[in-house]
Symmetry: C2
Subunit: 547 residues, 2 copies
């Protein structure tokens, strides 16, 4: 039965809202001091509102402004924030401005997120990965209002997001083409933007920010904090995984373990004759510790999810390697980067806080709900993948004609973490956290079934070769050191696993423990990285210990 209705209700509602701010706008432009009034007139109770909370770039002028609106006028919002990064992202729940949230990552705010969920002050729709959350913006979480940050806006409303384009085009698209309202804070209004990252006709309101948006250097690791145990693990990874499986395209997680690998490529890797054979194509935020490998000619290309503070000039001078626009500045794109990181690379290697005896891992520990960002996407075996690469195909272990390869998913951890707690545990804290905050499933970051290798200071477990859960557990025990899980291993079991190539110790890989010295790192400290970069890398102040 045909329904009688208007089919332009959303457009009409948007036009009516825009009418309410017309007196405050000059074209698309509003005054900084009118920001609160603009939000109060444009946002309505129960709206779905996206705030750009990238890993790095924060629409913080708009989020601070939203935290100051009158809760009598604006309340019970359903927030969609990919990274809950700032206090005011949560203040709005304390004030009743918002009541529900869907998010992917909460990093620095994870303890407070946990408390607010427990206390019932914040209702969680779901904890996603970035790609899931982006996808739902086009399906069942279509936003009414999107608040984003741009570096520059021109008189026609075109946006320049440049180096930190990240997720801006994706979240803007979800509103701009579905009768949503797109509000932008801009660092600067100019006559002409250096390049157009987002066309002006997708934008409704532009407000000059009170100060430039916040940026966090999240992916910078100072080489001076890399330990010799991490160097040993990095040597094992290079020989026992990168070289052995011919890993050409990859993503590195954030952490000192993978920074160590990056800094060994130009030294240890070069000595092994691996240059040009491994680690050629990267999906990676521009981590400074990769500079020596780039300068040594190891790297063919790097596509990035987002920027990294201090790397702007270096990247602009290396357009053969990075994705750079005609204006000379990098273009990042988190959605396309996550797609590439999921489907187009040989390997994801990262770290975690806990791994259980089965091989499931999580960064969720008691009292903290950080979410997982993109790790579960990249750290999973996408069963929809159909193209083959040598590394992927190397994971095929049977002659079954219907069998196929697998993505390499590597967890690299010391058996005891920074807090002296065992990383290998019988039960993940995540299982208890699930009950505490009443999640539908335990917050596992990477499942055992998706994990192909675990590297510790003891050795490498080649989990993809195991053909039963019992064997998988034995392989994990064999490299879990003196953790409760590791203590269950015994010498004969270990020998058997080594004989069958399921576990490798450093000596099995030709890795000499005595060689694992800090002198093997291509850069010892931040100053060395700056030198490698010909002075183009400009570390943030907090990393400038030498100056």
């Amino acid at each position: 039965m045909k329904v009688k209705r208007s089919w332009t209700q959303q457009r009409d509602a948007k036009n009516a809202r825009m009418e309410k701010v017309s007196s405050l706008l000059n074209g698309k432009f509003a005054k900084t001091e009118d920001a609160k009034e603009i939000l109060e007139r444009l946002i309505e109770p129960n709206d779905k509102v996206v705030i750009e909370g990238d890993n790095q770039k924060q629409a913080d002028f708009l989020s601070r402004t939203l935290a100051n609106v009158d809760p009598e006028r604006v309340h019970d919002l359903h927030m969609i924030i990919s990274s809950i990064s700032r206090p005011e992202h949560l203040d709005i729940f304390d004030k009743g401005i918002a009541s529900k949230i869907d998010f992917a990552y909460s990093g620095a705010q994870s303890t407070r997120v946990s408390q607010m969920i427990s206390s019932g002050r914040m209702k969680v729709g779901a904890i996603h990965t970035y790609l899931e959350l982006f996808g739902r913006l086009f399906i069942d979480l279509i936003p009414n209002v999107v608040l984003v940050a741009a570096e520059k806006a021109d008189r026609n409303g075109n946006l320049y997001t440049g180096f930190n384009t990240e997720e801006t085009p994706t979240i803007v698209e979800s509103a701009a083409f579905k009768n949503g309202i797109v509000i932008v804070q801009a660092n600067e209004i100019v006559d002409q933007v250096p390049r157009v990252d987002i066309p002006g006709d997708q934008i409704d309101v532009i407000i000059p920010a009170d100060k430039p948006y916040e940026l966090e250097p999240l992916f910078t690791r100072d080489p001076q904090n890399i330990t010799e145990i991490q160097i040993l693990m990095a040597m094992m990874a290079i020989r026992g995984i990168y070289e052995k499986h011919n890993v050409q395209s990859l993503n590195h997680g954030v952490g000192f373990n993978t920074s160590a690998i990056e800094l060994l490529l130009p030294t240890y890797g070069e000595k092994l004759g691996l240059k040009g054979k491994i680690c050629r194509n990267w999906e990676l935020n521009p981590t400074p510790t990769l500079i020596p490998a780039i300068e040594s000619g190891w790297v063919e290309s790097i596509h990035s999810f987002g920027g990294e503070v201090g790397m702007e000039k270096y990247i602009a001078a290396r357009p053969d390697i990075f994705f750079v626009g005609k204006d000379g500045s990098m273009r990042s794109n988190r959605a396309l980067g996550q797609v590439a990181g999921q489907y187009a690379i040989d390997m994801f290697i990262g770290s975690t806080l806990q791994i259980d005896k089965y091989g499931n891992s999580s960064t969720v520990t008691a009292g903290r709900v950080p979410g997982f960002g993109g790790a579960p996407n990249m750290g999973s075996n996408p069963t929809g993948r159909r193209h083959s690469t040598p590394a992927w195909q190397a994971m095929k272990t049977t002659d079954n004609p219907l069998d196929k390869g697998q993505k390499l998913v590597v967890q690299m951890v010391e058996t005891f973490g920074a807090n002296k707690q065992p990383v290998f545990v019988d039960k993940l804290d995540a299982v208890d956290v699930q009950k505490e905050i009443n999640m539908e499933n335990a917050p596992i970051m990477i499942y055992s079934e998706d994990t192909t290798h675990i590297v510790t200071e003891e050795g490498i477990a080649y989990l993809y070769k195991t053909d039963s859960m019992a064997e998988r557990q034995a392989a994990i025990e064999a490299i879990a050191g003196v953790t409760p899980v590791g203590l269950r291993s015994n010498a004969s079991q270990l020998q058997d696993l080594r004989n069958r190539g399921i576990v490798a110790l450093p000596e099995d890989l030709g890795v000499h423990r005595g060689e694992a010295k800090r002198s093997l790192l291509a850069a010892q400290n931040m100053s060395d990285l700056v030198k490698w970069s010909d002075g183009l890398y400009n570390p943030p102040a907090k990393f400038r210990s030498w100056s």
Copy 2:
């Protein structure tokens, strides 16, 4: 060791190439008659070249022109084409202009593709899904030249791709930010585009096309060809899957089976009281057979990968449902649509040509290599997914605290196909095709492990409930009719599977075979669809049998 090199070699090379055509350009604009010369000067031997070959929109002026370049000047190209849709996509291999290809789908050209691979005339890098291929454009298949099609271009080079935006922004981005050359054929040059889909500074050369680009109506199914068996299957799917599992967000594959479901929602679905409870949010090309469900108020939103010929005006008049820009025309986006289709929906339901006794399915049959497009992405269980929905969670079958839900992946087939051949087979043709053309893995479209349900005219197999391969095989046999696979089933086995809810026959679902009549369809033919649309749907000529 720091290498001595220029880090702007790619940019310099691009500038040098552009210099070679400067005399043929007025700004970014070239003359139609210079197209061949432009391509001969800008494309160099061994280049990686993307030709836009969407499912629907074809950069056919540029592909026809490429097929006419002098093979002495341009040869051994490495082509990257998501859909090999046109003869000249293959002619260039016959002429030696190209030698290698990476692709995702070959549809209408699949027989010739198979022959050209067998004969060695065309070397295949890999057969991908769309998302894999898009991802690799940013990793290890970064193109030198990209050839795309736009509806309109303005004097500043801004492109309007409108209704058929599809993959254009994604493939342009891969070249525009990595020193690649972007060449556009435009149907029309205008002073100002209705909206900017791609900013002009991402574009290098614009050539007015000799005629508007080709468009294929690939997703149009005439209701008059829907059979009563398909209607019976559709009724079973609605009751036994959509209603049972509370499927709210979904994608329908192309075919009469799913068209039947679409046309039963306003009749059978309405009678069951399911309106507003299922099928609310869609990722779907705008299939005309969904018009009655939309007009009956079933559908909240539809995001689309691409357009569909004849649906332009209807969609423009329904911006509450579809993604429509300020200019009033739909915006499609294949990359974001595939992301949403993989990660943000409850269910994928489609059809196939063969299913083996284990539950693996493929559309590859002897002598044809069609590729799979997006089906393997959407038809897989993305193990990286972390958010839950009722339908997804319904697939959880154990109390294991580490267990989680699963995406519904449904295959819907008649036990014998259109060619009277059994769909259920002991061995897929794909296994032989793998050997014939020396593929690294058998070209499976959807693996058994990812498949949760199979629907036939006999009943539904709830594969997600099976806990062994033997049980899974028995469930498949039970609904495989009189195919060789089905004949292995017996009455007591069937009864046991029904008792345990692993197989359901129509009567178990409360579906009355006698009700499965064509009169139950909300539209009997194309003319009815036009009526439902208030005359806004304008079917392509070949579907206008009544006029």
